[in-house]
Structure formats: structure tokens, C-alpha cells
Symmetry: C2
Subunit: 323 residues, 2 copies
């Protein structure tokens, strides 16, 4: 057993009260790992709370026990805070205030950019997801049931883009095969996660994807969205999923006009462009293939600056690749 896994299991064994949290802008791996950990600790008769900065998006409400998640805490104290799928303690948002109420922070995460902010840090960039890490942790303890399996499946499924991203490997499918024992219905989970749109939503998305902009080489593709509305699901991801139907495009961007002169920029890349790097240049961050940032300025000026940078960045890569 890995030393750090042993350490985490010991810490869990020797303590009674736990707080679980994850990053802002909740998605499948964040919620899947939180709820799986909650159910695991409950099986060990621990006292557990989950608290998140953001409300649970509607599409994840099918996850078992998703209703136990709380938007805030009183002045509860905790023996241990478990921060899952979260690369930096600032990404837990307002929950950061409660972290100091815990005597020990355990940080379990698969982001390469993790800052090791915990007292115990298990950072596994070779794992597809925090959920795949938790599978390993629980397996060491011999604990699994249908509810935990549904949570872990969902986190792995979403973070691997339905098992197609480069983070999917032999081990990922081995874990999924093992989870499938627990009568998981992949069709039901897929439908919950991907069949989300109202007729109005689909019409909105289609209007965006019918008039995309491209750079001259058609390697970069983007859209400006003047009126963005938050939905009970990740509309950004749905738009990108349609944009991904395009062949040969490497970088996908969305520019969304926000209130108070700000623009949210989301980046996705397909094969080789490190969009985490690009987002960091503009004060944001994320993963190599998915990142984002918020920039002050008009939609047009932000578009101009970012696209200029991305063009130069990808051209530079091209040159470097040729060498």
C-alpha cells in the first residue's frame, strides 16, 4: 500500500468528525468524490458533513445522497477536513473559512497543478479523476456498495469524457469494470448528464454553433456570447461538445459577457495545446485540455487580445514541433 494511502486511512480511523468539500463550479468528479467519501465515512460510523461554495447543479441531483450537501455551516468543529478534486485551497471558495475549524486537512486530488496545501497531500496526476483515487482508497479498506459505485462511476465518466480523453487507461476500465458489478445503469447516468436541454436551450446552442469564428488555418474556433444565462447544467460543456464535432480544430474558446465589464473566457484543446498555460497568462488556470479565466474589458477587446495570444502561442508550438 502506498505510504500516503496508509496515512490517510489511519487518520480516518483515529478521528470522528469530518468535513468534506471540493472546488467551486462543481462537476461530476467533485460531487462524485465528495458523496462517495461521505458514504464511505458513514459506513465507518463517522460524523460527516459536506459543504460547498456553490449549489449542486441540477443534473447531478440524481447522485445518491446529493441532498445532504450544505451551502453553509454553523460553527461546527471538525477533526479532519477532506478537500477533494481541488488543486488549491482558494478554489474551495467561502468554505475556506471553515477549513481552519479542522485540526487536519487531507487533500486528495489528481490535478498536476496541485499546491499541496493540506497537512496530508495525496496528489495523483496519473489518475483520471479523484474518484479513481478514491476507488483505490476504498478498495484497500474493502468497502464498496451500489451508491458509492454510482458516485465513483459518475466522476470517472465525466472526467474522462465518457472514457475517451487521454487520461483514460487500462486501470480506468478495470476500475469501471469492477464498479459495474454493482448494477450500475450507464445509459441512465449518461442520459442524466447529457440529455439536458429544453427546446429553447438547444435553439440557443445551435445559434452559437451556426456562426462560429475561425482563424485562417481553422485550428482555432470561438464564439462571442452576449447574453449568458446560467442553467441547472453546464451549458458551456454542452456547447463545447457540439464544437468538438469539428475536425482538425485544436483550440476551442467561448467568450461570455458578464456583468460589470467582465468577460469569462473558457478554453478547451484537443491534442497538444496547453490551455492551462494560456489561461494562466490571463490570470486563470485549470487543466492542460480545459481551463478558464475572467478578464476585465469589453467583449471585443478581450476577444482581440486572447485570440491574438492564442494564435501566436499555437504558431509557436507548430514551429517547435517541426524542429
Amino acid at each position: 500500500m502506498k505510504k500516503v494511502i496508509k496515512k490517510i486511512l489511519e487518520k480516518i480511523k483515529n478521528n470522528k468528525t469530518f468535513l468534506i468539500t471540493s472546488h467551486m463550479n462543481l462537476e461530476g468528479d467533485a460531487l462524485g468524490s465528495e458523496l462517495a467519501m461521505y458514504l464511505f465515512l458513514k459506513k465507518l460510523k463517522k460524523k460527516v458533513l459536506i459543504c460547498n461554495n456553490d449549489p449542486t447543479p441540477q443534473i447531478y441531483e440524481f447522485l445518491p445522497f446529493s441532498r445532504v450537501i450544505r451551502p453553509s455551516l454553523k460553527d461546527e468543529k471538525f477533526d479532519v477536513a477532506l478537500v477533494l478534486d481541488c488543486s488549491d485551497s482558494s478554489r474551495v471558495g467561502k468554505v475556506k473559512d471553515y477549513l481552519s475549524n479542522a485540526r487536519c486537512i487531507i487533500n486528495i486530488d489528481h490535478h498536476i497543478s496541485n499546491t499541496s496545501f493540506g497537512d496530508i497531500n495525496w496528489v495523483g496526476p496519473n489518475y483520471s479523476s479523484a474518484c479513481q483515487m478514491l476507488y483505490k482508497l476504498f478498495a484497500h479498506h474493502g468497502i464498496m456498495d451500489r451508491n458509492i459505485a454510482v458516485c465513483l462511476y459518475t466522476g470517472i465518466f465525466t472526467d474522462t469524457g465518457s472514457f475517451t480523453y487521454a487520461n483514460t487507461n487500462q486501470e480506468t476500465h478495470k476500475v469501471i469494470s469492477s464498479l459495474m458489478q454493482y448494477e450500475i445503469n450507464p445509459h441512465h447516468i449518461d442520459e442524466n448528464l447529457h440529455s439536458l436541454c429544453s427546446p429553447q436551450d438547444l435553439s440557443f446552442i445551435s445559434k452559437i454553433t451556426s456562426s462560429l469564428k475561425y482563424d485562417g488555418r481553422k485550428k482555432i474556433c470561438w464564439s462571442l456570447i452576449r447574453k449568458w444565462e446560467d442553467k441547472g447544467f453546464d451549458l458551456t460543456e454542452v456547447i463545447f461538445s457540439v464544437m468538438r464535432l469539428l475536425r482538425e480544430v485544436e483550440v476551442f474558446l467561448l467568450f461570455k459577457k458578464l456583468d460589470r465589464g467582465k468577460v469569462r473566457v473558457n478554453f478547451r484543446s484537443r491534442n497538444y495545446v496547453d490551455v492551462n498555460h494560456i489561461a494562466q497568462f490571463f490570470g486563470g488556470g485549470g487543466h492542460k485540455r480545459a481551463s478558464g479565466t475572467t478578464i476585465e474589458g469589453s467583449l471585443e477587446s478581450v476577444e482581440r487580445n486572447v485570440i491574438h495570444f492564442v494564435k501566436r502561442y499555437t504558431n509557436g508550438l507548430k514551429t517547435r514541433k517541426k524542429r
Copy 2:
């Protein structure tokens, strides 16, 4: 080892020349199983030909050795014909004429409707795909390599709808995990199969999906396409994949205006409507969840008749379901 697998392996061992074929309207499992079987037999130093009724769709040209597939044969004789992923000998199309040139027909298929038309029939409706069956066959022989693995992965991936259909189970992921050993790039395969559109294609698709029609209960959704162009990929499937983003819709239809006063109607359903049954009423056919037919008449009159029928049909089901 299953008796029938033993029988097939013996038949292969004791013979020298083989013909491989599959069904008309080739897709991933047909081509994946054909090419995997071809490579397996080549490793055993057999003389092998693949011949299909239809040409290989462009999107499957990435499959290893896809260029060996022939559109016709001379008067070659074969010891054994292997008919893969094909429920009925009539579905091999014109290749049927060559089947009589073989002394023995081996039929390996996972369709429940298989008519057991071969001399040896291995029909496995519990397998996700013919490719998953072949994995088992090859495993008994201890033969596998990267090219075979890519073919089998592709067949399983396409026939399980990226591992989300109800035919996906524990065994499916176990097989995939084992195939992943051979440095398969799932992202590359997914991209070959799903990232197909030019900017013009995506704009065309988006125009269709931005103005869909719905019945009053929003259970049926359809579009009229006045100018249809065949592509090197299945544009129909791509449009349906975008329509499937809609929640709660059960039946999806496309009406395409063809030459000479004809209209092609494609049907898809999600959970319970038997669109094979509906298509049969209009002289067509297919599967429970995917079917089609061609009807004479104007776009509007065909739309009126078909939608009227589908509404009555689904309302009837609703009533029956309530009982």
C-alpha cells in the same frame, strides 16, 4: 472452453483459405470484427480475403488494413466463409453469391434475431458486439496485438455507444481494459469517428437543430431538410446526436427531400417506442431504436402523415403503459 468456440478454432486450424464478410451498411462492429479476424487468420498463416457488399465508409478508413477489403471476388473457392455481426445471410447482399463457394459457413454474431444460417453458429446475444465475441475467441488462442486490439476496441466502442448503451457490462469494460494494454489511443479513435464536420457541415447541422419542430407534449421532435447532401460520414447520425441533447424527447425524426418526389424518413427513439414497427408501417424497417423508410410524396404531405401516425402510436403506448 465453450463447445462452439472449440469447434470454430478446430475448423480454422484444419483449413487454409477463408472468406470474411459482414452485413450491408457497414459500421464499426462489422468492420472491426472483419479486420480483427483477418489479422488473426493472417497470424495463423492462412489465406484470407474480406469482401463486402458496400464500400467502407470514410470514417473507418483509419482501421488497420482497411484497404485490403474488396468490393467483389473472381471465382475464388474457399474452405471456410466467416460471416460476422450478421443476423441473416440475406444481409450480406451480393456477397451471398460467393458464400456457396465455401465448403463451410461459420456465423459469429450477437444479434438476438440471428437465423443460425451457418454450418457452425455462435450466436451470443449477451455480448455487446461481435468484436467482444472475437476477443474471447482470440484469447483462447493467446493471440492479440495492437492492430487487432484497435479493431476490437472500435467495434465495441461503436456498438455500445461509447460504453453507455444497456449492452455494456462488467465484461465489456474488462475486455476494453485488457485491449488498452496495446497502447490504444481512445481519444484518437473517438476523434476519427466523431469529429467529422467541416465548418460548413456544422453550420448546416446547427441550422437544422436551431429550428426543430415538436409535438404538443414535446415527446416527438423532427426537422424537414429541403436540400440533403451525402457526406463521407453519417451526417444523419451526427444530427441525431445533437438532437439527443434534448431532455424528455422520446422519438426523433428527420425528413429529407430526395430526387423524384421521394422523401427519406429516419427514425430514432430513446427508451420505449419501437421505431422499427413504425418504419415497417411505412414500408421500411430497422431496429427498435433506429429505423428508416423512403416514401413518395411532397415533404409536407409525408411529414403530415408520418407525424400523425407517430403521435397516435405514442399516445396509444402511453395509454397502454398506464394500465
